[in-house]
C-alpha cells in the first residue's frame, strides 16, 4: 500500500514538474508582454516533432546534439513569432493578441500534420527503462524530468538575478515605460523572452516523449494544466507556478486512490476554478496581478 502511494507520489511529482515548467514558460511571456501565449501547447508539440521526427528519426543524430539543435531552431522560431505577432499586437486590447496566438497554434498544428504526417509514433529507446529504489519502481523518464526541471529552475533564477540580460528582462516585467527610459530595448527584450519560452516549451516536449505517443495532441492537456499550475501557485510569480504545478501533479495522481481514474483530468480544473473563486492570487501570489 505504502509502496504504491510512494510510486504515485513520485510520478505525481514528475508530472507536476512538467506542469510547473509549462507554468514558467508562459509566466515568462505574461510578465514581459502582459499577454498569454495560447499557442504554447502547439509549441510543445512542435518541439517534440522537430526533435523526434527530424533530428532523431530522419537524420539519426546523437540525442544530445539533437536536443541542442532543436533548442536553437525553436529559439529562432520563437523570436520570429515575437516579431510577427507579439510585438505588433501587444499594445492593443488583449483579445487581439490572444486571437493571434490561438490562430498561430492552428497554423502550427496543420503544418506539423503536413510535414510529419498524421500517424502517431514513438521513440522506443529514448529515456527508456525503469529504476528500482527499494521496492518502488520508478521510470527513468520521471527521474530525468525531475532533474532537468530542478536544473532549469535554478538556472533561470541565477540568470534573472545575476546577468545583465536577465536583470533587463525583470525590469521590463515591472515597468515597460521606465525600462525604455533607462535605455533598455523593450522590443528586443520581448523577442528574446519569447525565444526563451519557446526553448522551455521544447524541453517540455522532448521530456514528455517517453510518457505519451508523439501526435498532434501531445501538448494539449499539459498546456491546459500548466495554466492551472500558475493559478494555484500564484500567477506571474515563477516559484509559485512551480509549487502550484507540483501540487496539481500530486493531487491529481493521489485522487486516483479515491475516485475513478477517468476523472483524473477533471481534478486539475476543479482545483483551478476553485482557486480562482476563493483565492485568485494563488498560494504564493502577490495579488497585484489580479485586476489585470
Amino acid at each position: 500500500m505504502i509502496g504504491s502511494v510512494l510510486q504515485l507520489l513520485i510520478s505525481g511529482i514528475a508530472m507536476g514538474c512538467i506542469y510547473g515548467l509549462v507554468g514558467i514558460e508562459y509566466t515568462l511571456v505574461w510578465n514581459s508582454t502582459g499577454l498569454i501565449n495560447f499557442a504554447h501547447d502547439k509549441l510543445i508539440m512542435l518541439g517534440a516533432y522537430v526533435f523526434a521526427g527530424t533530428f532523431i528519426v530522419k537524420m539519426g543524430v546523437n540525442p544530445i546534439i539533437g536536443v541542442l539543435a532543436t533548442l536553437i531552431v525553436m529559439f529562432l522560431f520563437g523570436s520570429a513569432v515575437a516579431i510577427g505577432i507579439f510585438n505588433p499586437l501587444r499594445n492593443k486590447p488583449t483579445i487581439f493578441a490572444v486571437m493571434g496566438t490561438v490562430l498561430l497554434g492552428r497554423v502550427i498544428s496543420e503544418a506539423v500534420r503536413l510535414i510529419w504526417g498524421p500517424t502517431p509514433f514513438t521513440l522506443p529507446t529514448f529515456l527508456h527503462g525503469i529504476v528500482h529504489i527499494g521496492n518502488i519502481v520508478v521510470a527513468t523518464a520521471n527521474i530525468w524530468i525531475i532533474v532537468v526541471s530542478a536544473v532549469l529552475v535554478i538556472g533561470l533564477t541565477i540568470f534573472f538575478r545575476t546577468t545583465r540580460t536577465g536583470k533587463a528582462m525583470r525590469c521590463v516585467q515591472h515597468n515597460k515605460t521606465a525600462a525604455a527610459l533607462m535605455g533598455i530595448d523593450v522590443t528586443r527584450n520581448i523577442i528574446f523572452t519569447i525565444g526563451l519560452s519557446a526553448m522551455v516549451c521544447t524541453l517540455i516536449g522532448i521530456m514528455v516523449i517517453p510518457l505519451f505517443t508523439i501526435d498532434g495532441t501531445i501538448g494539449s492537456m499539459i498546456g491546459l494544466k500548466g495554466f492551472a499550475s500558475g493559478l494555484v501557485g500564484g500567477f506571474g510569480y515563477l516559484p509559485g507556478t512551480v509549487v502550484g504545478g507540483i501540487i496539481i501533479g500530486i493531487v491529481e495522481n493521489m485522487s486516483t486512490i479515491i475516485i475513478p481514474a477517468t476523472y483524473k483530468d477533471v481534478v486539475a480544473f476543479i482545483l483551478m476554478v476553485s482557486f480562482l473563486l476563493i483565492e485568485p492570487s494563488g498560494l504564493l501570489g502577490h495579488g497585484k496581478n489580479q485586476s489585470r
Partner: protein, 334 residues
C-alpha cells in the same frame, strides 16, 4: 439621402429573396446542411458578441455552453419522452442557469483569468459528458435524437430546418442589434472601455456582467439545441476547445461589437474552408494562415473595411449602404 435609402431597400430585398430561394436552387444535401450550420454559428456568435465583443470579457468556454444546451435538450426529451419543443425551452433555461453561474466568477476575475476560468468550465463539462457513461452515453455519443415537431411539421431534413433556422436567426439578430443600441448595450461597451467611469455613474457592474453572460449562454445553449436537432447525433468530442476558438475567430474576423460583423464572420468562417477545398490537404492550413493574417493586419474585422475608417479603400463605398449611420459615427476601435 432618399436615393441611398432606396438602394438599401433594393439590396436588402435582393438579399432576402436570394436567401429564400437558395435551398430551392441548390438541392445538394451537404451544402444545405452547411447553410443550416451557418445560421447556428450566427446565433452563437451573436451571443458571444454580448460578452466578448461588447463587455470585453474573454470567453473561451463557448463549446461547453453549446454542449450543455445540446445535451440538456436531447437528454430531457429522450429520458422523459417529452416533445422536443420542451427540450428547446429547457436548453434556454439551462443557458440562463449557466450564465448566472459563469457570470459570478467574472465579478472576481477578469481578463486572462476569466478566459482560463471559462476554459476550465468547458473542459470540466466535456470530461463529465465523456465519462458519465450511464447518463450521457459517454464518448459513443447520443444517436437517433428525436426531431422537432412544430405546427404539424417534423423538422427532419436540412431543407425544412433551413427555413426554421433562417427565421430564428433573423429574429435573434434583430433582438441582438436592439440590445447593442439599448441602454444595456451602451453600458456593456462602457464596461469594456472604462470600468471605473461606469461605476462612478452609479451603474451596477456586477448585474450587467452577469446579464451579458446570461444572454451569451442563452444564445449558445439555444444554438446547441438547434445543432442537436440538425445533426441528430451528438458526441462530447465535438465540444472541445477548438470549437470555442472557432467562434472567437468568427467574432474577430467579422468585427468585434457589431451584429453585422458577427453575421459576416459566421458566414465567412463557415463557408471559406469549403471554397478552399480544392487545395485538398492544404485547405485548412491556408485557411488558418488567412485567419492569422486577418488577426494581425485587420484586428477590427472585415466590418471595419465598411465603416469608412479606411477612406481610401474602394469597398468603403459599400459601407454607405450597409452600416447603420450611428455605427459609422461611433468609434469602432474597442
Amino acid at each position: 439621402m432618399d436615393m441611398k435609402k432606396t438602394t438599401r431597400i433594393v439590396l436588402l430585398g435582393i438579399l432576402s429573396v436570394g436567401l429564400l430561394i437558395l435551398p430551392i436552387i441548390d438541392k445538394n444535401g451537404y451544402r444545405q446542411l452547411l447553410f443550416d450550420q451557418v445560421f447556428i454559428n450566427m446565433i452563437v456568435v451573436m451571443g458571444l458578441n454580448f460578452i466578448s465583443g461588447l463587455t470585453g470579457q474573454m470567453n473561451l468556454g463557448t463549446a461547453g455552453i453549446i454542449g450543455c444546451g445540446a445535451y440538456a435538450s436531447t437528454l430531457l426529451c429522450m429520458k422523459l419522452n417529452l416533445p422536443v419543443a420542451v427540450g428547446f425551452l429547457a436548453a434556454i433555461l439551462m443557458g440562463f442557469i449557466i450564465g448566472q453561474c459563469l457570470g459570478y466568477p467574472s465579478l472576481r476575475v477578469s481578463g486572462v483569468y476569466l478566459s482560463l476560468t471559462t476554459i476550465g468550465f468547458s473542459e470540466i463539462t466535456r470530461l463529465v459528458l465523456t465519462n458519465w457513461i450511464g447518463f450521457t452515453g459517454g464518448s459513443a455519443g447520443v444517436p437517433n435524437i428525436p426531431r422537432l415537431q412544430l405546427f404539424g411539421i417534423t423538422f427532419d431534413s436540412a431543407f425544412k430546418n433551413y427555413y426554421l433556422y433562417l427565421v430564428l436567426a433573423v429574429l435573434l439578430a434583430i433582438f441582438a442589434s436592439r440590445v447593442v443600441y439599448s441602454k444595456w448595450g451602451r453600458a456593456f461597451k462602457a464596461i469594456r472601455d472604462n470600468i471605473e467611469a461606469v461605476s462612478a455613474c452609479g451603474i451596477d457592474i456586477a448585474k450587467l456582467k452577469i446579464l451579458a453572460f446570461t444572454l451569451a449562454a442563452m444564445y449558445g445553449c439555444f444554438a446547441g439545441a438547434l445543432y442537436a436537432n440538425m445533426v441528430g447525433y451528438i458526441n462530447p468530442t465535438t465540444f472541445n476547445l477548438d470549437l470555442s476558438i472557432n467562434y472567437l475567430v468568427m467574432l474577430m474576423l467579422g468585427g468585434i461589437g457589431s451584429v453585422a460583423g458577427n453575421i459576416i464572420g459566421a458566414v465567412t468562417v463557415t463557408l471559406l474552408p469549403e471554397f478552399l477545398r480544392f487545395m485538398q490537404n492544404y485547405y485548412w492550413l491556408v485557411f488558418s494562415i488567412i485567419a492569422l493574417l486577418f488577426a494581425v493586419f485587420l484586428p477590427n474585422g472585415i466590418v471595419s473595411l465598411f465603416t469608412g475608417k479606411d477612406k481610401k479603400a474602394p469597398w468603403g463605398v459599400l459601407g454607405k449602404f450597409w452600416i447603420p449611420k450611428r455605427e459609422k459615427e461611433g468609434k469602432t476601435e474597442p
